[in-house]
């Protein structure tokens, strides 16, 4: 019952004209960002954070705007998957498998509408799940001391490595790199400068927004510079007919099972620290194929193959907010970016957020529900507009993305030094992506590094320098066990995931033709 009352208060916060307008703008922008190839939820939100920040929006409005963008991008990713066979973002990869064949069969409109409905169900249920599960997790989190928090951060990095990357060494490398970058600047507890090489600009440390925009947005520009002329500019070669805009009742009914199963799986995958939406859609599609693919119709335009990954990735997007809000540990790349935004607004997520700023939490959750309804309303009738926006060639889009990144970072500090650091991170991001080193652990390291160190030092101060305090409580022992298992198990048992993942696009091509 408490949850329902809190949620009602949340609606009171969210239902102001300004917030509703922001949610609408966010949904619209987010759908565009998700649909455009090369812009996904993480780099889209990353570009907008400094802008929301320098526009001087309050904490709740800014959070509503950006989470609407986040949810919108999750919806938008499917549009280019279905129409062009180019996933708009990573979680939408699985949607190409059946979405594009459906479009080729002249069912593009039905596929878009069906995936819109599946996305709605997935994220709606996940948002309700978030409203009920997060407070429970908060109760548990209130038992956490500094030692448990330190273990929890280790767990986040360990599972992130295990699931997000094919190579555990590279995931650990990325995490250490991020943590190392976070150490730059004056140490908050003793006041001594660290790794600043006498440079005054480095005394404040490296602004995580600068690092994020460089790593996510600018590196994308370099990727496109590298691959110029190699792929079509996002223009559909043959005009795909949209067809009827609403799926038949029989089709919806046939997909009901797929949507409900995928929602549950997606939500659980999202709640796991470090897993995120890509895993949600991957697992949802895989399971649905095992259960329903009796006539071997998957990959040839089966509606269930469109509904399952879309419900899965949107449910995972909602699920990923649970650990982010309740523990301050993000569950995916984009939630790491949202965490960055909260920190930029001086809000520390975690159990205290629920007691100290309940208006922020519940306003946000209410806004998510509103955004969801808006997105469904936007996406079914207005899909034609988004399809037209897809036609913007990347040769005009990417320069605009680069310039908006510069504007955003310049808007925060107006300093040339920050812009130079951003370019440096852009190049670093490009090199790391070429070498298949995941970027998300780097970002999480930069974001969580200081909190992780503070908790370690607090625990040690309490225990007077006795290192065994880190494993002194049953709670911390179980978190450590999970962390070790999360890191080691994929090396042994994860070969299935590792092999199956890279073959996905090839399967898409052979089966579509």
């Amino acid at each position: 019952m408490d949850t329902l009352f809190a949620l009602a208060d949340g609606f009171a916060v969210a239902l102001t004209w300004q917030n509703l307008l922001l949610a609408l703008i966010g949904c619209f922008l987010g759908t565009i960002i998700g649909a455009l190839p090369g812009l996904g939820p993480s780099n889209g939100v990353a570009i907008l954070i400094p802008l929301a920040f320098s526009l001087g929006l309050g904490a709740t409005p800014a959070l509503i705007l950006l989470t609407s963008v986040y949810y919108g991008a999750m919806y938008g990713g499917r549009i280019s998957s279905i129409l062009l066979n180019i996933p708009g973002d990573e979680p939408a990869v699985m949607t190409t498998l059946d979405g594009y064949p459906m479009a080729k069969n002249g069912q593009a409109g039905e596929a878009l509408a069906l995936s819109g409905i599946a996305s709605f169900v997935g994220s709606f249920v996940a948002t309700i799940g978030l409203a009920f599960l997060a407070p429970q997790l908060v109760k548990l989190a209130l038992l956490f001391g500094p030692a448990e928090y330190f273990a929890l951060y280790v767990l986040a990095f360990a599972t992130l490595g295990g699931i997000a990357s094919a190579n555990q060494g590279k995931a650990a490398f990325a995490a250490a790199l991020g943590l190392g970058i976070a150490m730059v600047g004056v140490d908050g507890q003793t006041g001594v400068p660290r790794f600043s090489f006498g440079n005054v600009h480095l005394y404040d440390g490296i602004n995580f927004l600068v690092a994020i925009v460089g790593l996510f947005a600018l590196s994308e520009v370099f990727i496109f510079l590298e691959h110029r002329n190699e792929e079509t500019d996002g223009n559909p070669d043959s005009k795909v007919k949209i067809g009827r805009m609403l799926p038949s009742w029989a089709m919806l009914k046939g997909c009901f099972g797929a949507i409900s199963r995928s929602t549950v799986i997606g939500f659980l995958a999202g709640v796991l620290p470090g897993a995120g939406a890509s895993l949600g859609s991957f697992m949802a599609y895989g399971l649905e194929k095992k259960i329903s693919d009796k006539d071997k119709t998957f990959g040839k335009g089966d509606p269930r193959g469109v509904a399952a990954p879309e419900a899965g990735n949107n449910a995972a997007a909602g699920g990923a907010l649970v650990p982010m809000l309740a523990l301050g540990v993000p569950g995916s790349g984009t939630t790491a970016v949202l965490l960055a935004m909260l920190m930029a607004l001086n809000i520390t997520p975690g159990p205290l957020l629920f007691t100290k700023n309940p208006d922020v939490v519940w306003g946000l959750i209410a806004a998510l529900i509103i955004a969801n309804v808006m997105l469904l309303a936007l996406n079914i009738p207005m899909v034609g507009i988004f399809v037209r926006i897809l036609m913007i060639p990347t040769k005009y889009l990417m320069p605009a993305v680069a310039m908006i990144s510069f504007v955003g970072i310049y808007g925060i500090s107006g300093s040339t030094f920050d812009l130079m650091v951003m370019i440096l991170f852009g190049v670093l991001g490009w090199v790391l992506r070429k070498l298949d080193v995941p970027l998300v652990p780097v970002i999480m390291g930069v974001l969580l590094g200081n909190a992780m160190e503070v908790n370690l030092r607090r625990a040690m101060t309490i225990s007077n320098g006795d290192w065994s305090t880190l494993v002194a409580s049953p709670l911390s022992i179980s978190i450590w066990t999970l962390a070790v298992a999360g890191f080691v198990l994929p090396i042994i048992a994860g070969k299935y995931l590792r092999r199956a993942k890279p073959t996905v696009p090839e399967v898409a091509e052979t089966e579509a033709d």
């Binding site: 490398f173 140490d187 310039m403």
Partner: protein, 143 residues
């Protein structure tokens, strides 16, 4: 091969990082762990991960041709020049040149890129400065 290079660079970086961490001056107020320990732990993790990458490398990524690498380098140089030009030339003029260059390198014809540069620059100026009131770099002409 690329991963072996990454491993070696990682070990060197970790060594440099740990060395720098030991040089951190400690102040008179300090806690049991101090300002050095955590960075040293991070450096050790970095070193171990780099060694693992060195001995268990993935297959090589597809690196672009030298001419394309040069182009990316040139784009980086243009971006650096852009950051220095911002306070001198103002947002609109600097952005026209920078975005026109990027559009050109992304495959637009020279004329198309100039038009694109102009539209992107003026568009961003109109939306972010005139409508949303964000402060952008001011040049000699006030924009």
């Amino acid at each position: 091969m690329s991963d072996r290079v990454l491993g070696v660079v990682g070990v060197l970086l970790a060594g440099f990082y740990i060395w720098q961490a030991t040089l951190i001056e400690t102040s008179f107020i300090t806690d049991p762990v101090g300002a050095k320990t955590f960075p040293i732990i991070v450096g050790i993790v970095l070193a171990i991960a780099s060694v693992a990458i060195f001995f268990l490398p993935d297959s090589d990524p597809h690196w672009p041709a030298v001419s394309r690498l040069f182009e990316i380098g040139l784009s980086v140089a243009v971006m650096i020049a852009y950051t220095y030009a911002l306070p001198e030339a103002g947002f609109v003029i600097a952005t026209i040149f920078a975005s026109a260059f990027l559009a050109w390198r992304l495959g637009a014809t020279p004329l198309e890129s100039i038009i694109a540069g102009f539209c992107i620059s003026v568009g961003i100026y109109a939306i972010f400065h005139l409508i949303l009131g964000l402060s952008l770099a001011k040049g000699p002409f006030g924009f």
